[in-house]
Amino acid sequence: MPFKKFVEIGRVAYIADGPCQGKIAAIVNVIDQNKVLIDGPTSGVSRQAYPLKQMHLTNLSVKFPFNASTKVVRKELEANKVDEKWADSAWCQRIKAKAVRKSMTDFDRFKLRKAKSQRNRIVTIALNGKKKALRKAGKI
C-alpha cells in the first residue's frame, strides 16, 4: 500500500507525546532521521525540535519555504484555516470524545447507561412494530 502522508515541509502533525501532547504543529524543517523542527504558532506550540516518533502525521499540509519564520508559518496556517479543519476532523473529535469518556464519574456512567437503554428500547419497539407489519403482509 503506498504511503499517503509524508514528512515534508508544511505537513501538519498531531503531537501525541511529550510536553506539547495534544496539540498540532507544522513541520518547518527536517533535522535528521528522527527529529524535525516544528512550529505551531496558532496552537500554542513554540518553534522547537521534536522527535518524529512522538508525532502522528495528519492529512493536512500547508505551503511555506523551509525554515520559514514563525510569522510566515502563522500566516499560512491561518490562511488555510488549519485549526478549523483540524477541529472539524473526525480524528480530533474522537480524541475529545475519548477524553470526555475517561473523565466520566460513576453517576455520569449510570446516566449514560439509562439513556442508552431508553434509546434502545425505543428503537426495538419501532423495529418490532415494523417487523410485525411486514410479517402480517407476508413480506417476511
Binding site: K102, S103, M104, T105, D106, F107, F110, K111, K114
Partner: protein, 260 residues
Amino acid sequence: LHCLIHFIKRRMGKNKNKGSPRNYSLASGVARFSRASMFHKKAVYKFLKKKAPAKKTEKKAVFVEKKIGGAKNGGTRMVRVRKLPNDYPTAVKTAKRPNRSCQKSHPPKLRSSITPGVVAIVLAGVHKGKHVLVLKQLASGLLLITGPMSLNGCPLRRINQRFIIATKTKVDVSSVKVPENINDAYFARVKAENVKKDGVFADNKKQKYTPSDERKKDQGEVDKQVLAAISKNPEGAMLKKYLASVFRLQKGQFPHQMVF
C-alpha cells in the same frame, strides 16, 4: 596632620591579611591564634556579662533526731528523713512503651474526597456494591452512612472509610440534622451475658439482629430529611435511581483507570 597619620599607620604595620579572616587555620591544621589570644584581640571581656551570684540552697537534713519510746525508753536516735530503697533490682527495668492512643487526641484523618453528602460505593459487608450517602464522621473516626433505607435497604450505619469509594457526586446535606443521640455508643454492639445458670453456661445462640423501635424511628427521621435534600438537587430524580442501583464492573472497565 598628614605626617601624623602617616607615622601612626607606619607603626601599625601593613595588613598582609586583607580579605581573609584573622584567625585562619595554618597549613599544619592549627589555628593561627589561641583561644586566649583571640579573647584579648576581640576584647571579649567588654562583652562578658557579669556572673549572677550563686543562689544559696538550703541544705536538706539527711538525718533527723527522734525520741526513743517504748522498751528502750529515753535517749534519741538518728532516723533518715528519706528511707533507703528496700529493693535493688538486679536487672534494668525496660521503659514502658508509650501508649499508642493518639486517636484520643483527635479523630482519624479522613480522605479529602469524603465529605458530608458524598455518594459512596460500599466495597465490603452485607451492603457491598450499594451506593450510599455519607452523613458525617463520628468521634471514633468511622463514617455515618445511610442508604437511604427506602432506596437501597441500607440503614443508618457506621463504616470505616477504607471500605468505601467516594464518588465525585455530592448532595447538599447541610439541612440534614442528625440527632445528637446517634453516636458511637448508639451503634455499639450489645454483648450477650454469658451467665452461669445452675452450673451450666447459658446456651447463647447467636441472636438474629432485629432493629429496635428506637432505630426504626431514628432511621425514618433522618431519611425524611435526606430524601428532601436529594429532591432539592436538580438531578434529584436520577440520583434516587442511582442510589437504588448497584455498582458493578463491566468488561473493559478497570478501577485504576476510572474516575469515580
